[in-house]
Symmetry: C2
Subunit: 299 residues, 2 copies
Amino acid sequence: MAIGADYAILADMLDHVLDTPGKVIRPAVTMLASQFGPEGQGNALYMARAVELLHIATLIHDDTVDRSALRRGKATIHSLWGEKVAVLVGDYVFALSATCVCDTNNVRVIRRFAETIMELSSGELMEYMASRDWTVTREQYLERTYRKTASLFRTATESGAVLSGVGEDVVKALSDYGYNLGMAFQVMDDILDIEGDADEVGKPVGSDLLQGTLTLPSILLIERQPENNPIQALFDGVDPDINLERTVSLIRDSSIMQDSYALAGEFAEKAIRALDVLPDNEARRCMAGLAHYAVQRRV
Amino acid sequence: MAIGADYAILADMLDHVLDTPGKVIRPAVTMLASQFGPEGQGNALYMARAVELLHIATLIHDDTVDRSALRRGKATIHSLWGEKVAVLVGDYVFALSATCVCDTNNVRVIRRFAETIMELSSGELMEYMASRDWTVTREQYLERTYRKTASLFRTATESGAVLSGVGEDVVKALSDYGYNLGMAFQVMDDILDIEGDADEVGKPVGSDLLQGTLTLPSILLIERQPENNPIQALFDGVDPDINLERTVSLIRDSSIMQDSYALAGEFAEKAIRALDVLPDNEARRCMAGLAHYAVQRRV
């Protein structure tokens, strides 16, 4: 992604972060959602760029506050240039994403974009403030999952739809698709934290739990076994290695993973069903395929 | 400033940061600049709120990366809740400010607002990357001063003008006023770092220099005495107390302060001259008064 900056050092930093694309699934669904209306795709392209830049900005700040050394196999900004630079470059990329949305000249999607940044940051905040809190409920988990992940997916598809000039029923359908796809993605991330191959996923098994974050499988375990469960001890810092292993075993030896897959599958199903009102074209089939991929992926 | 948040902990944090107004000069000039056109002031009010929120968001991030314990006499977010919370709350307030600009429904001012965030963050980055670099030129200083301070003043007045529905000549005049007022403000901040009363200003004399930041008076000293000046030694960490005192004495015992006041005065003068095209009303007199205040203030 070639983005100019009029200040050489900053331009180098931007090259560094923008040079290694991730799954680019958010811009992909923005473009797919823009295939159902009469308007050209020029504005959807601006939006797709904005959505990916926003995602990158949040990653820069997340990696900074989490002190992560690597992202997509490359050194993070804060590990190369320090925390102050990383906070400021993150702010710059947030603003850069906002200027891309302005290129759409559509105040409705610009406003939705700003609200999304509020949802993303408050979702991250919720997760952090609930760190090592094993009383988080399934409802709180779903609200946080919407904010920190599904919100941006929803904005991507909803904006693609709005910019293509479709009616409100189609906007609603594509907004619902994005919401449910995002929820399915995050639930699968939680599943992969327990079941994924550490090498493929790029982080050790149970790393969310070890960091004090309750994921869906761990919430299901607490629901079933509220007393004397190893998560409480794990979060209290008692024998973390042993209690993490016990937690992972208890989850794996129960029907919890099955139930977690079922929830991810439900979201994927709802995403696909939301597409029912759309004409059966290539874009719709692609989106349905993405919903299947979301719950079958191993990374 | 009453701002709701649908998440109780975050609402408390916002109350904390929004409860203690500063000089509120940026929203004031936004409103003053909106008094020359036919449009009502409703949109300028949204803009004024956005401008102050943006200023607060930048302060939250600045205080976080600078590890400042106090702001406006109150504990900073990061000192109360930690760095991670402060970065996320800063992001949230950036986004909140953006939603206020969206209330104006004017893509031109929304875009200018996003560009301003790019200027603010790249200006802060320039300052940080030039830390302990005594080769910064006057031109580089002026560019950085525009980005980190004058940009937001310019956006405040320019947007107030645009939203009030005036012609482009008046927009240009009010934009120039804001630019020059902001430059005068920052040059005066630099002057107060050397000449201000430590108790009144709230920080010790020479604190910018001690942090490795070249301010206008110190750049003028280097221009006059490029070799063997104490700033080089100060930035190299040699006897910081002695070399800071020597630097401050050299500046005070020369015509450097006079020249610095002259530059601040020039910007204030240009600000006032930019108002020439406007009708002579209360708002114009107020703005001229603010330009005088900018270079006479002691805090």
